[in-house]
């Protein structure tokens, strides 16, 4: 049930520390269709979480969205319309977070936590409780009839994350925002949660934006991926194609620096240096100082994200030379 028109469209988003402050997210545009998962991958400070949070207007108090438009399509038959982030909270968009302990109110029982969303929308106590029960069952909480009476601290990290997903689903969202929801979990539990997220996307036709620092997690859940570096999207494309044939040196560096579980064990290729500090960006391409493919032109112009084929875009001047391996 992939929609032909995106559920959400963000254009030219800019997030800065105050009106004239340092720019932290710079000219980011993205869209997600129904039933599609968009992955955003990047290292800490790349602006990936800020981009995600801005959808619901959940930026830290010192940061503001200085530019950018957002259009949202509430129903299948509706036209996308401009929206204010605040109006989407609890109405069409939900979010799950990295730390399930601090995201669950410790003074409420599990059942009440999940029922709170429907209750706020005027559903009767009875019906909301029933809804909570079936949601907990849907997200795979064992013995939901008993667990509705439990407190958050009595659950394991994996179960808490499932409860948070149930809460997110309770308002029947069209779009689910995932902010590193498995980073704090063990590998086997992460695996379970990723499988659950996958299933919900397929069954409910949810649009997903999944943010992670780990490209291999993104590879598992996202059909399409955007790579962020120093506040910009520097490459975008179908996940498989992007991993097999990266068209930006940063994406390539990211892939080569990851250890592999198959093939002969090889030495990792680290990207030299570290990402620039916001507000102290180098001139020209922001990856130029660390780039093994850098040429003089890279230091003069800041290359825009340009389409390089069906569904693919890269912000590298030399992307064509990177095609199918290039020379390293």
């Amino acid at each position: 049930m992939t929609g032909t028109e995106p559920v959400i469209e963000i254009a030219n988003l800019v997030i800065a520390a105050g009106r004239d402050g340092v720019t932290l997210v710079d000219d980011v545009s993205l869209h997600v269709d129904a039933g599609e998962c968009l992955g955003i991958v990047g290292e800490s400070g790349s602006g990936k979480s800020l981009t995600l949070r801005s959808v619901l207007g959940l930026l830290p108090p010192t940061l503001i969205r200085t530019r950018g438009t957002m259009r949202f399509r509430g129903r299948e038959d509706e036209e996308p319309r401009p929206v204010d982030p605040r109006d989407l909270r609890g109405h069409g968009v939900s979010m799950i977070f990295q730390e399930p302990m601090s995201s669950l109110n410790p003074t409420m029982r599990i059942g009440d936590l999940v029922a709170a969303g429907p209750r706020a929308q005027g559903v009767s106590r009875r019906a909301a409780a029933d809804q909570a029960l079936s949601l907990l069952r849907e997200v795979g909480v064992p013995d939901p009839e008993q667990r509705v009476r439990a407190w958050p601290h009595q659950l394991s990290g994996g179960l808490r994350q499932r409860v948070m997903i149930a809460m997110a689903l309770s308002v029947e969202p069209r779009l689910l925002l995932c902010d590193e929801p498995t980073t704090a979990l063990d590998a086997t539990v992460q695996d379970q949660i990723l499988t659950l997220v996958e299933r919900l996307r397929a069954e409910r036709g949810l649009a997903l934006i999944f943010v992670s620092h780990d490209l291999s997690v993104i590879a598992r859940v996202a059909g399409r991926t955007a790579v962020m570096y120093a506040g910009r999207i520097i490459e975008q494309g179908p996940t498989r194609a992007l991993i097999e044939n990266p068209r930006h040196p940063y994406t390539r560096g990211l892939i080569e620096s990851m250890p592999q579980l198959h093939g002969p064990p090889v030495r990792l290729k680290a990207i030299s240096g570290s990402p620039p500090t916001a507000g102290r960006l180098p001139s020209g391409c922001r990856f130029a100082p660390r780039c093994p493919f850098v040429v003089d032109a890279c230091r003069e112009v800041d290359p825009p994200l340009l389409s390089i084929g069906p569904h693919r875009a890269s912000a590298c001047l030399r992307q064509a030379e990177l095609n199918d391996g290039g020379q390293s």
């Binding site: 086997t188 590879a219 990211l254 990792l268």
Partner: protein, 278 residues
């Protein structure tokens, strides 16, 4: 030949009470672990949270007293009251690059204190000793004058490695030493550890939940679950022909860049990893 480090049936049990009035329960954090590490070998210890791998690290560096079992270093029995020299020989790199450096001290002062206390270099050689430590961990010498908060995560972790190396150890115990770092910083530190092992002949015990990194770095692997080692062997054997169902489940659960669907048809491991048994 005998191994450099031998753990013989190590047990670490804690008595805990759920409430003040409750009867104490014995928590078996480490429950009968025997391992041997040869000189210049890199042993990977993998497992999920609560499996006892960090407690084991505490036993190795002599900060946690095992309730039973013996630790032998270079053929001699050692415990938490080990000699200055044995203590110096086994050093640790901690997980959290923020918590592992004293926020009030400059890098120079932390390193110099250790070198000075152990009398490892003459007074006049201190500057060059510090500079060569920085060079060893690929940091510019001016990092010596920095305080921890001025450094990035990767830089801090390299300072932490320099601190461990400052006392010229034989063994480095790395407890999730790269898991708090970004991917590119992670690769830098992993490569650094590999180089140090090659150049200095360091023996490394690399504790991690990340199978990919363990595979890159280690030549032997021990898999821990609920305080016990459930499988141990040469790294390639573990990664290609694991015997224990838990090892297989771990390998299946690890997300893989090039095979995102690998093992998806096989049943995923249900439930949560078991904590320390009681």
């Amino acid at each position: 030949m005998s191994a450099l480090i031998e753990l013989d049936d190590i047990e670490v049990h804690f008595k805990v009470r759920a409430r003040r009035s409750a009867a104490p329960v014995t928590l078996r954090a480490v429950d009968g672990v025997s391992l041997a590490v040869e000189r210049s070998q890199c042993l990977g210890v993998v497992g999920e949270s609560g499996c006892g791998k960090s407690t084991l690290a505490g036993v190795l560096i002599g900060l946690t007293e095992p309730t039973a079992g013996r630790v032998r270093y270079d053929g001699r029995d050692v415990d938490t009251r080990r000699s200055k020299d044995v203590r110096r020989s086994i050093q640790m790199v901690f997980q959290d690059p923020v918590a592992s450096l004293n926020p009030r001290r400059r890098v120079r002062s932390v390193l110099a204190e250790l070198i000075d206390y152990h009398g490892l270099v003459p007074e006049a050689g201190m500057t060059s000793a510090l500079n060569s430590l920085m060079e060893m961990v690929n940091l510019p010498p001016r990092v010596l004058e920095a305080r921890p908060r001025e450094l990035s995560g990767g830089q801090r972790q390299r300072v932490a490695i320099a601190r461990a190396l400052a006392v010229q150890p034989e063994v480095l115990v790395a407890d999730e030493a790269v898991s708090a770092l970004d991917v590119s910083a992670q690769a830098t530190v992993v490569n650094l550890l590999a180089d140090l092992r090659a150049e200095l002949g360091l023996t490394i015990v690399f504790i991690s939940h990340d199978l990919g990194i363990v595979r890159t770095l280690c030549d032997r692997v021990a898999v821990m679950y609920a305080g016990r080692v459930v499988e141990e062997g040469a790294a390639e054997t573990i990664f290609t022909a694991a015997r224990h169902p838990y090892t297989r489940a771990l390998l299946r659960a690890a997300p893989d860049l090039y095979r995102p669907d690998a093992g998806r048809d096989a049943p995923a491991l249900g439930g949560d990893p078991a904590g320390p048994s009681t």
